[in-house]
Amino acid sequence: MDKNSNTISPGQKAYLEAEHRKHLRIRLGRFLLLFLFLMLWEASVRLGLLNDFIFSSPTRIVRTFFTMAEDRSIFLHTGITIGETLISFLLVTVLSAAAAVLLWKCDTLAKILEPCLVILNSLPKSALAPVLIVWLGNNIRTIIVAAVSIAVFGSIITLLTGFLETDPEKIKLIYSLGGGERDVMMKVMIPGSIPLLVSTMKVNIGLCLVGVIIGEFLAANRGLGYLIIYGSQVFKMDYVILSIVILCIVSALLYRGVGVIERKVGR
């Protein structure tokens, strides 16, 4: 061990302090930005520059939140949306991983299905939503299917491409050590694709939230997406803006959640 590891040299100390100050400045800047935005919004409404009936205001949002928290309806709507997002995220992860493994094993099938995947991936899935309502009904199934359909095809393509990039020399090594296709999959392909899997999950959690909101716009009587549509129809913009604020927080938390998984498997 370095004998200086316990005592910090003046240069190192200055560097650490500078880093710390930089960190503080960034935090302060972020806080100020939020604070100024809210102040400006509130002030414009109070001074009559903005019509709070249309633009709502921070205090009105907080008041709406507490009113809705009293009868627990806001928690119900948020919980429904989070639940639907998590279910569809789980489905997307399992389905796309399974499909990508299958297509990796069966090259011909992958080639046959390639055009379908490309078309389904680039098709705007919101176009499917009305069809799904007719087929599946005005319920949670439609919402889940809509969310899954948005994320699953791109996810399959990304994972399959990643799997196919497995170093052929590493595959050769497994065979030369007497392993089989199963070993190639379990010892090289899947462990090597963990970073890719996690980054795909990060994209998917956002896409699932988008899908759930689109689904709730069209086929729900609960959830934040429903609340947004309902609020705009009855011209209660407080509902709409509050839902959007909650959505911001929810999406940040979900993204963080995947980040936690990433750090767990990164070790």
């Binding site: 020399e169 590493k170 050769k172 090594l173 050590l177 070993d183 462990p191 963990i194």
Partner: protein, 253 residues
């Protein structure tokens, strides 16, 4: 003595939609037990294909490959240690896949790791090791299956020059001591002469055998301790062999 490896009129081609690449053309040679054969040839002449055929990863299109070895060990150009496994878990990969990951095998692997100076790195990740150490770990991974035939595909080419000399000395010594039958493929003539008992010279594509040069050093005949690969490079016969093989390659390659 029956040869461990016997190739009879072996041909192999790679097929592409636009053309056929003839890699090996009616190739025949054999390797006797305990021999260390080095195969040299111009780059891209099909040396690696040859090893894949001997290893059983490819099947010849014509001719026959007869292997009389219980187990064949293959050592690739790069170490290909898996980053998500510790050095010990990398070394035990072969037995693990063959389902005889017993305590005795684990003990043997641990002993090899400490014998080759990797004792304190058993639980380290491959990225924490130097190039030479990684190559030694890769050799242990190959030896863990106790192969009686070793195939080495330019195993030192990814290393820098100094490490390369050290590691080839190291690994050459290990293999010589354990009297393993080995086939080394390389484009480096000095490496071939310093390691092999015999050098087989291949032509350019499609590869055929141009010459088979037995390598013998006067020193080895009068002592029991053979010259190390590094010492061979300084032996008087070295330059003669080098020029001879170089000439074969230039005139017929």
């Amino acid at each position: 003595m029956e040869p461990v490896v016997e190739l009879q009129n072996v041909s192999y081609s790679y097929h592409r939609p636009d053309r056929e690449i003839r890699s090996l053309h009616h190739l025949s040679f054999s390797v006797l037990p305990g021999e260390f054969v080095a195969i040299v040839g111009p780059s891209g002449c099909g040396k690696s294909t040859l090893l894949s055929l001997i290893c059983g990863l490819l099947q010849p299109e014509e001719g026959e490959v007869i292997i009389r070895a219980r187990r064949t060990g293959f050592m690739p150009q790069k170490d290909h240690l898996l980053e998500w496994r510790s050095i010990f878990r990398n070394a035990i990969l072969g037995p693990e896949m063959q389902h005889h990951n017993t305590l005795e095998v684990q003990e043997a692997v641990r002993n090899m790791l400490s014998a080759y100076g990797l004792d304190s790195f058993q639980n380290a990740r491959p990225s924490e090791l130097s190039g030479g150490m990684r190559q030694r770990a890769a050799l242990i991974r190959t030896l863990a299956l106790q192969p009686d035939l070793l195939l080495l595909d330019e195993p030192f080419s990814a290393l820098d020059y100094q490490t390369r000399l050290e590691v080839s000395d190291d690994i050459g010594g290990i293999l010589r001591r354990e009297k393993r039958t080995a086939v080394l493929v390389t484009h480096d003539l000095s490496e071939a002469i310093s390691l092999g008992n015999r050098v087989i010279v291949l032509s350019g594509r499609p590869a055929r055998v141009i010459a088979s040069v037995p390598i013998a050093f006067a020193h080895d005949k009068c002592t029991t301790e053979p010259l190390s690969p590094l010492a061979r490079r300084n032996a008087p016969e070295f330059a003669g062999y080098f020029n001879h093989i170089w000439k074969e390659l230039r005139e017929h390659g």
